[in-house]
C-alpha cells in the first residue's frame, strides 16, 4: 500500500506541475472513435459518395489518401472543411476526417494531427459504417 500511496503522490506532483499545453496527458487529442453524429452529410454531391458504400472524407492540405479498405476522398476545400467542422479559425483545412455511411449520413468527424499514422483507426471507423 505504501508503494501505491507514494505513486499517487508522485503522480500528483507530476500532474500539478505539467503545462497544459505541453502535450500528454493534457493534450486534447482524444478522438472518441464512436459514431456520435447522425445527420445528412453536407455537400455530398461533390464528394464522390456512392449510395450503399461508406466514404472516408479526409480534409487536409497536401496529404495522401490513407491506406484503408474503401472509398476515400481527400480535399482541402475550405467550404467542405467548414461544413464538416474541420476548418480552424485561421483558415486551415484540417487535418482531420469524417466518415459518411452508405445512406449518405455523416456519422463521425474528428481532427487528427497524425493522419498518416492512423490508417488503422480510420479503417476501423470506415468499416464500422458499412
Amino acid at each position: 500500500m505504501l508503494t501505491v500511496a507514494v505513486s499517487a503522490v508522485v503522480l500528483t506532483a507530476w500532474l500539478a506541475g505539467a503545462d497544459p499545453r505541453s502535450g500528454p496527458p493534457f493534450d486534447p487529442l482524444q478522438q472518441l472513435g464512436m459514431f456520435y453524429l447522425d445527420e445528412p452529410a453536407p455537400l455530398l454531391d461533390g464528394l464522390g459518395h456512392t449510395r450503399g458504400e461508406p466514404l472516408l472524407l479526409v480534409v487536409c492540405t497536401g496529404c495522401e489518401a490513407p491506406g484503408v479498405g474503401g472509398r476515400v476522398t481527400v480535399t482541402d476545400d475550405p467550404q467542405v472543411a467548414r461544413a464538416y467542422g474541420l476548418l480552424t479559425d485561421d483558415g486551415r483545412a484540417g487535418p482531420g476526417y469524417a466518415v459518411i455511411d452508405g445512406d449518405g449520413r455523416v456519422r463521425y468527424r474528428t481532427f487528427d494531427p497524425n493522419l498518416a499514422g492512423n490508417d488503422r483507426e480510420m479503417d476501423v471507423m470506415l468499416q464500422g459504417a458499412r
Partner: protein
Amino acid sequence: MRRALTVAAVRRALTVAAVRRALTVAAVVGFESYLYWQYAAHGAQFHYFIHGFTGVAAGVAVLVLVRGGRVSTRGPALDVVLAAAAGRLLSAMPDVLFLAADLPHERWMDVFVAHISVHFVPAPVAATFTVFVLAVAGATAAALGRRLAGLVTAGAAVVLLVVGLAARAPIPRTLEEVRERPGIALRCPLLASAAIPPSLRRPSSNV
C-alpha cells in the same frame, strides 16, 4: 564470520513477503507500462489517463465499500491490487475491443466504468485524477486499519465520480452542435500543440 552475516542478511531480505511485494510492484509497473505504450502508439495518452484513473478508482473504492473498510493489512495488499487491476481492465475494455476486434465505441460501452461519458465530465483529467487519489487514499487508510476513514474517503471518490458524470456535457449529434459548442472531446488538437505558433493558439470558432 562476515560471509555468514551476509548470507543471513540476504535471507532476511528474501522473505516471502518481500518477494511478493517486489513481484507485485514489477507486475503493476510492467502492466501499466505496456498499456501506456499501446495508448501512446495511437496518440491516445489522454484516454490512458482518464480511463486508468477511473478504472483503478472504481475497483479500489468498490472493494473498500463492499468489505466495509476491511482490506489486507499485511504484505502487498493483493486484494487491493487485484481490485485495481480488475477495474483498470474493465475500463479499458472498449479500447481493447477497438484494437482487437475493430469495434468502434458505442454508447452502451458506458457499462465499462462509464467509458464514454467520462470523456465529457468537467475537466476530465483533473476530475478523474482527484477520484483516483481519493480512492487510493481510502484504500490506504483501510489498509492501515482506519476503517471509517477508508470508508468515508472511498465513498467520497464514488460520490465525486457520480457528480462529475451527472454534470457531463451532452454528446453532440449534429455538425452544427460540434461547430457551436466546442466540446472537450472535439477540440482541434493542433491548437493546443506546442508545435503550433503562439499566434494560432486561440480557441477556434469552428471546432
